[in-house]
């Protein structure tokens, strides 16, 4: 699969990062806005419902007050009294005054379509229509009259008749919708034949213009007011055509919306295929006149701000996304273009076009990168050139080192000297191509054998060179017939002179072994003490300790010589520190004690086997670690007391 471009990766990463918060934020804010709108709408609908109820109550209260007012005027009382007192002239004059008063009242009040006084026979005596006193219209509607008469006469025994609010009705003829109330007015005298009835009585009927209230309701913003009377007739509705029609379903719905503050808030409901939120109030305008005021608002109207906000959010989100995408594209281009150029340049460099350079872009980081690349490219070019040279040099040095190693190897004894009764073996394993350890068997006159084991400080080629010169000095001095002390002293002076300021020195063990007698006279110039095992594995192990400073430390060092005798079964093991100090993976030295044990165990082996065994154990101890130091071992095993004569050098 082909990997995506960095620019695409940036786009793919950043666009969701931008889109997701916007989407989540938009959703949350939209949800919160809807909730808030519902709360606000409920609050407003509550207020409007209270206001509508209050207005309706006020209208009813005013109607009640006005009916009482008209019914309790002195003109009315006088008129009734004059009728009772049989004063027709005064009654007629007062009736005219009553008519004038009613007309004046209707004009002043302004809200009354019709004000009437109807006498007990149902005949209009005063009729005021829209503030004008008009000719009375004769006998009134019987149905209305019965309602008024029967209702208003109910409590007449108490001396004051109650106002009977008849509710909202449509006036026949004019079609005007009015809010009607009536009050019975009567004189003081009851009829003899019917004590429950009054001699003189009539009814004041006021028809308030209901349209004014309806108009007010209709102009309420975003809210529809529906008022239903106790018979489920619509006394107020948004649709005027439905006025005074029965709607029990709406009444049931409206009553279900009447709730106390402790109840859960109202929820949207469906009506006429639309969704509404509503609040309702119950009204008792008069006994038996229980109205319900419902105020509702279309949910689409309520939620319109939320929808608008939603659209704005979506639009803003999209715009932001486009802008962000464009911005990301541009910015990523700024980032990726130099990278692409760098990649192409790197590709050319990889193909070997080391003189490839990139153009320095204007951005600081990219410029730094380009400069680094150019610098790296130059360095690389230079390095490869250098490497080429170094490799050539190294190859040359390696070949030289190989030669040196070969040379060093060639100076070591190819094989141990063969002496009857003696098993002598030696082995050297340098840590690098060349090493600083060496051993030597120097055949000396008189059946003696010179044993040399030395360890030049340091490793590698310098140590090898120093070893060669040191070997040469020792061999030369030994062959010159000097004793061990003189040999070592002479070699010390030479080595000290050679080392100069290099600080190099050599630990060395030199011994003259009388192959016949087994006497071993030695000088230990700071070297690890060789181990002399006497009498086999269970025998005593003697360490041939130092008798002087390492060679080259002090020019005029003095050396002492010691002497031991090796008998049959005795074995002398010489070693360098590369054996005992070989570290394992935990940097623990192999140790002298192990060497001692192995010497005891290997005392029955031939010298070569012993050396192989020790070397194998040391290598096993170090595991995969590179060899730490040059390892050199020399084993001298006296098999039996030797006969006379010693075989020459190997």
């Amino acid at each position: 699969m082909k990997p995506l471009k960095l620019r695409n990766r940036i786009l793919i990463f950043f666009l969701p990062v931008l889109v997701l918060p916007l989407a989540v934020g938009g959703y949350l804010s939209d949800h919160a806005a809807e909730e808030e709108l519902l709360i606000q709408a409920r609050r407003q609908l509550n207020s409007v419902a209270s206001g509508a109820a209050l207005l309706t109550e006020t209208a009813a209260h005013r109607l009640d007050q006005d009916v009482n007012f008209v019914a309790s005027t002195p003109e009315m009382e006088n008129f009734l009294a004059y009728r009772e007192f049989d004063m027709p002239r005064e009654a007629r004059v007062t009736l005219e005054g009553l008519g004038s008063f009613m007309a004046e009242f209707a004009r002043t009040a302004g809200d009354y379509v019709q004000v009437r006084y109807i006498d007990r026979s149902g005949r209009e005596l005063v009729r005021v229509w829209e503030g004008r006193l008009e000719k009375p219209g004769g006998i009134v509607n019987r149905k209305l009259w019965d309602r008024v008469r029967l209702g208003a006469g109910g409590d007449s025994k108490q001396g004051r008749a109650p106002v009977r609010i008849l509710g909202v009705r449509r006036l026949p003829g004019s079609g005007r919708v009015v809010f009607t109330a009536a009050k019975l007015v009567h004189g003081a005298f009851r009829r003899r034949d019917r004590p429950g009835d009054y001699l003189v009585w009539g009814v004041v009927v006021l028809d308030m213009d209901w349209n004014k209230l309806l108009n007010f309701f209709q102009h309420l913003p975003s809210a529809e007011v529906v008022i239903l009377d106790q018979d489920a007739r619509l006394t107020a509705a948004p649709d005027r055509d439905k006025l005074l029609t029965r709607s029990p379903a709406q009444l049931k719905l409206a009553r279900s919306l009447i709730r106390t503050p402790k109840q859960a808030p109202s929820q949207p409901f469906a009506w006429d295929g639309r969704s509404f939120l509503g609040e309702a109030r119950g009204l008792t305008l008069a006994p038996g006149l229980d109205w319900t005021v419902m105020v509702r608002a279309d949910m689409t109207v309520i939620m319109r701000p939320a929808h608008q906000v939603r659209l704005v959010i979506v639009g803003v989100t999209l715009a932001c996304l486009l802008l962000a995408a464009g911005g990301i594209f541009l910015v990523s281009g700024v980032i990726t273009r130099p990278i692409g150029a760098l990649a192409r340049a790197a590709h050319r460099v990889a193909r070997g076009e080391l003189d490839t350079r990139v153009e320095i872009p204007r951005t600081r980081e990219a410029a730094m990168l380009a400069r680094s690349f150019n610098s790296m490219s130059e360095d690389l070019s230079r390095y490869i050139e250098e490497l080429r040279r170094t490799t050539a040099e190294k190859e040359r040095l390696a070949s030289e080192m190989a030669i040196a190693a070969q040379l060093q190897k060639s100076v070591l004894p190819r094989r141990a000297p063969h002496a009857p009764g003696w098993d002598i073996a030696g082995a050297a394993l340098p840590a690098r191509e060349t090493g600083g350890d060496f051993y030597d068997f120097i055949p000396l006159p008189n059946g003696r054998l010179g044993l040399v084991l030395a360890d030049v400080s340091g490793k590698g080629l310098p140590a090898a060179l120093f070893m060669l010169s040191c070997r040469a000095y020792l061999r030369t001095l030994a062959l010159s017939g000097l004793g061990p002390v003189e040999v070592m002293a002479g070699a010390n002076r030479q080595v000290a002179a050679d080392s100069g300021d290099s600080g190099m020195f050599v630990t060395a063990f030199y011994a003259e072994l009388d192959l016949q007698s087994g006497r071993l006279r030695y000088v230990n110039a700071g070297h690890n003490p060789p181990l002399a095992l006497r009498g086999g594995a269970e025998g005593e192990m003697e360490e041939l300790t130092r008798t002087g400073l390492p060679l080259g430390v002090l020019e005029d060092s003095e050396y002492g010589a010691r002497e031991i005798t090796l008998h049959a079964g005795d074995m002398l093991t010489m070693y360098t520190d590369g054996v005992t100090e070989a570290p394992d993976s935990q940097d623990r030295e192999w140790g002298l004690e192990r060497l001692r044990q192995e010497v005891r165990r290997g005392c029955r082996l031939c010298a070569v086997e012993l050396l192989k065994r020790v070397r194998g154990l040391v290598q096993e101890w170090s595991g995969d670690l590179p060899q730490f130091d040059d390892m050199t071992l020399v084993a001298v095993y006296r098999l039996q007391d030797a006969p006379d004569g010693v075989d020459g050098n190997a």
């Binding site: 002195p74 009382e77 006088n78 009294a81 009772e84 007192f85 049989d86 005064e90 003081a188």
Partner: protein, 510 residues
């Protein structure tokens, strides 16, 4: 020229000095009182008689009050003030000595002195007003001192209402009714069907402030609308006895007049008359319980409110609240059910009552009586209202020829504003009381001649007894209504008297 000047110089200087000296006091003297050229007062009825000792109606009396004067006057606050008598004191029980004002002359120039007073009071004793001011003797102690003996303890109060001082010469000739002559601020000029014309008495003794009119006409009109029209048109400036409806009309119309109302000293009631000619009704009307039922049946307050348009105060006894000696009692309640029960119990078969009411005398009397009759009918009675002309009515009532009236309407004024005026010794035998309370005669007589406080203690007892006896259907105390044009101001007096000179004034600026 020089000689001439020398000749006339001293005399000219003297004249000039005299002129200056004459002008100085003239400048400092009080300005001459303003005299209005003309004033028209319109009453409700024509004057019956200008004889001050023979008056039966208020209209005639109002004219006489401009011409004649009393020895003492009652102020607008009810105080007794000196008038023709400057001082009076009781020298012994029942003996009063009065000092008369000097410099008072009758319109014909005759001086007003002790002789005139003695003549007037003695003449009073021969008139119908003797009951108001019963005197034992009157005599002159000097030209301006008079001694009056009378058993009444409140003689000065009674002199405020009666006892006009007449010129002995003219009156003796019997010309008082034709051409009355008094000491008042206005003198009689002429009388015709239109009214009485008076003129300012330039020699009136009171030079102080007063309402002076050169030409004063007191006419009448029984038509309330015409009275209203005249007032609005400026054809009259003062209206008496304003009908409640006229008052309401003037109030409604906002006509530029001033209206004055004051509780009247007159109270209106229906006298319950147990007529001997109708034994069944007599038995009922003689029963105090039945009379109580009649009172309980009538809603007087509503009648006042409706028929009188509020111009009345319900009565709670035989006296009204203005009267000295009045005892407040519990208002008579309107209890139609109780009344109906009582009437049903006392007259199970029902009864018809005849109610008489005068025509054209008392305000809205017919309607008040009619409304009362409807209330009585509402309580279960049958009532027939008969309207009778005032003259005939008065005659019949005065002479107690009321056998065919079970109830008759009366308005009784108390111009003295004192209990004794109404509750005089003749009360129980007068047309005011027909229910036979003979046991009260002694009390009334005793009280009449007693001085306070025993007098009013007795009157208290009498009032309580009378209220319990229900001799009347108690109706209301009237309210006197006056209307004057906007440029006038009126101070009505509690006793109902009206003196143009003293009670009218130029109206305050609006």
């Amino acid at each position: 020229m020089k000689r001439t000047l020398r000749k006339i110089g001293p005399s000219a200087c003297c004249w000039a000095l005299a002129g200056v000296l004459a002008l100085v006091p003239a400048g400092r003297a009080q300005a001459a009182p303003a005299v209005r050229p003309r004033l028209v007062i319109t009453d409700t009825a024509p004057v019956q008689s200008l004889d001050p000792l023979n008056q039966v109606d208020q209209v005639s009396r109002r004219v006489c009050e401009q011409i004649f004067e009393h020895l003492v006057e009652m102020s607008d606050t009810g105080e007794i003030k000196p008038h023709l008598a400057t001082d009076w004191k009781q020298s012994a029980p029942g003996v009063w000595r009065l000092t008369l004002r000097r410099g008072v002359r009758f319109h014909d120039g005759e001086p007003m002195d002790a002789r005139a007073v003695v003549f007037s009071l003695k003449r009073l004793q021969k008139s119908r007003q003797r009951d108001i001011l019963p005197l034992e003797s009157v005599r002159a102690l000097g030209p301006y001192r008079v001694e009056i003996k009378s058993r009444v303890p409140d003689l000065p109060r009674r002199l405020t209402y009666t006892g006009y001082i007449l010129p002995p010469r003219k009156a003796a000739r019997g010309l008082a009714a034709l051409r009355p002559v008094g000491t008042g601020p206005y003198r009689f000029v002429s009388r015709n069907f239109g009214g009485v014309r008076l003129a300012l008495n330039d020699d009136y003794w009171n030079r102080g402030p007063g309402f002076r009119v050169r030409d004063l006409l007191i006419n009448y009109s029984g038509d309330q609308q015409q009275r209203r029209r005249w007032l609005i048109q400026g054809r009259t400036q003062v209206l008496f006895n304003i009908n409640p409806h006229l008052k309401a009309s003037l109030l409604r119309a906002g006509v530029r007049v001033r209206l004055y109302s004051r509780p009247s000293n007159r109270e209106y009631f229906l006298v319950i008359n147990p007529s001997p000619t109708r034994p069944g009704v007599r038995r009922l009307l003689a029963d105090p319980e039945f009379r109580r039922a009649l009172n309980l049946a009538v809603d007087v307050r509503r009648i006042i409110r409706v028929v009188l348009l509020g111009n009345g105060i319900p009565l709670d006894g035989v006296l009204n609240k203005q009267v000295l000696g009045y005892v407040p009692q519990a208002p008579i309640p309107f209890q139609p059910e109780i009344a109906r029960r009582l009437i049903r119990r006392l007259a199970p078969r029902g009864v018809e009552l005849i109610m008489a009411v005068p025509r054209g005398r008392y305000p809205r009397a017919k309607w008040v009586a009619g409304a009362t009759a409807r209330y009585l009918e509402n309580a279960g009675l049958k009532v027939t209202v008969r309207t009778v002309d005032w003259a005939k009515y008065l005659r019949k009532a005065s002479s107690k020829q009321t056998a065919d009236w079970d109830l008759y309407y009366l308005g009784w004024g108390n111009p003295l504003l004192e209990a004794g005026y109404t509750l005089n010794p003749e009360f129980v035998s007068s047309p005011l009381c027909r229910v036979g309370l003979a046991d009260l005669v002694g009390l009334l007589r005793r009280a009449f001649y007693l001085g306070p406080p025993e007098r009013y203690r007795l009157y208290r007892k009498i009032q309580v007894r009378l209220r319990a006896a229900y001799p009347w259907i108690f109706l209301y105390q009237g309210v006197d209504n006056y209307a004057v044009s906007r440029d006038l101001a009126l101070t009505p007096r509690p006793n109902g008297t009206f003196r143009v000179f003293y009670d009218l004034a130029a109206g305050p600026e609006d």
